[in-house]
Symmetry: C2
Subunit: 291 residues, 2 copies
Amino acid sequence: MSGRIGTLAVIGVGLIGGSFARALREADRVEVVVGCGRGRENLEEAVRLGVVDRYTHDIGEAVSDADLVFLAVPLGAMRDAFGAMRATLPSTALVTDGGSAKASVVADCRAAAPELLGRFVPGHPIAGTEKNGVAASFAELYRNRRVILTPLEENEPHAVARVREMWEACGAEVTEMSVQHHDEVLAATSHLPHMLAFGLVDMLARMKENDEIFRYAAGGFRDFTRIASSNPVMWRDICIANRDALGPMLAAFANEMTELAKDISEADGERLLEIFERAKAARDRYVDGFK
Amino acid sequence: MSGRIGTLAVIGVGLIGGSFARALREADRVEVVVGCGRGRENLEEAVRLGVVDRYTHDIGEAVSDADLVFLAVPLGAMRDAFGAMRATLPSTALVTDGGSAKASVVADCRAAAPELLGRFVPGHPIAGTEKNGVAASFAELYRNRRVILTPLEENEPHAVARVREMWEACGAEVTEMSVQHHDEVLAATSHLPHMLAFGLVDMLARMKENDEIFRYAAGGFRDFTRIASSNPVMWRDICIANRDALGPMLAAFANEMTELAKDISEADGERLLEIFERAKAARDRYVDGFK
């Protein structure tokens, strides 16, 4: 391999996989893109749109000429994907992924294809939209977005450098952290908020006269619950994959809300003001500050 | 009074009070607007902007010529405001308010000026922005927004009709419901989400390495936590004013999150999928449907 990739195999040609292929094409960093997936219609659209050059439904066939494999399948499908590629993957090929939880994907690789641990570099692009499928993909998705790599002890240094280089060619800002730290940070900033949004909308939907309740929901509610329109299957997979970090964090949050409910019922104004002021200061400083 | 108001007294000339005055002026439904508040600078700006014709810091003086009084002070200041107006309020004047909780305001009126219950029509415009002060006010704030009136048993019918007429002149869609039902609907759709946003940001801010956590928060987190940038004092007041509806609802939600945390830790995929699917269906149907 030189500064370009000969053949890129994209396993799962949706928003994430399709945008990776498009971005590398636009940066002129790839010669051939092979797509792999289950839905024939989506894959034919990927060919029509020029996102992939050819496709197959067979992972072993898809990776047989690959210099780089990008695994963009749901977390629940990672283990089988590792197993399906081991027989045909060229010995110099690198593998990376785009899963939203990392410990589970590493465990999947270790279980299904342990000999790949030296050249499987786990990654997670912090990007996405509410849309799915290759039709929603676009070359700029990763521009100025963060991509977290969680290199493994077993990783060969050139593998990490190479995967980083490809993400940087997509315009992403690449950082590295440990697998465990990644999973905690994502549990806090993404998985936990999704649980609250899903949980809130679900609770209100089960209330009497729920259509009237939703009728009076204003703009703040719409923003707050937008993420509850995300894909339920994907989120089931994420929850299970990241249960070690997410379960305890959600339990801790639930305890804090029990306390807050008590503060409210007791009209403890001082305590309420303390919490709200600390939260507002943090959000104004960190979230708006990093816009 | 005819189709126009002679003198409107706006107590609290901020976003809510200022926009009400501007909208009635633009609809040519008011002759004179008197502003009342504590901050001199804000009131002078209100005169400069043409939102009010004159101002005073004294509520009794502000209402002494009023045909309609609009109380747009924080919930924690309502009781004193009722008390301050009773001596000078003309016997034909109507009173309404814009508070986000209604039972507490009605209790304040009953405690401080019970003789006003016949002509105090509680109201709540479901509108607002993150900005404060008269400079943020604009005549279109209430256009096509919902305004909930919660008429009292004691209310004279013409009082309710008149207040409704004024809100409709602002372009609002006016509906009526009971005080208690209003407070439950608002607890569910506004107050509870605010608690979760404040609580989440506060919990993350107290974590180790919190600036790194916020650094990786993506767009979904920004939307989800936007309401945590709201005014802490106002929200303390709302929580205390609506504690009877909000306290138990937040406690119930906390219990559901404890259960969900357990489902996640036990990797109960079926249960997770059920919750997420129900939530997505409700949000897609109700929230996006009412856009």
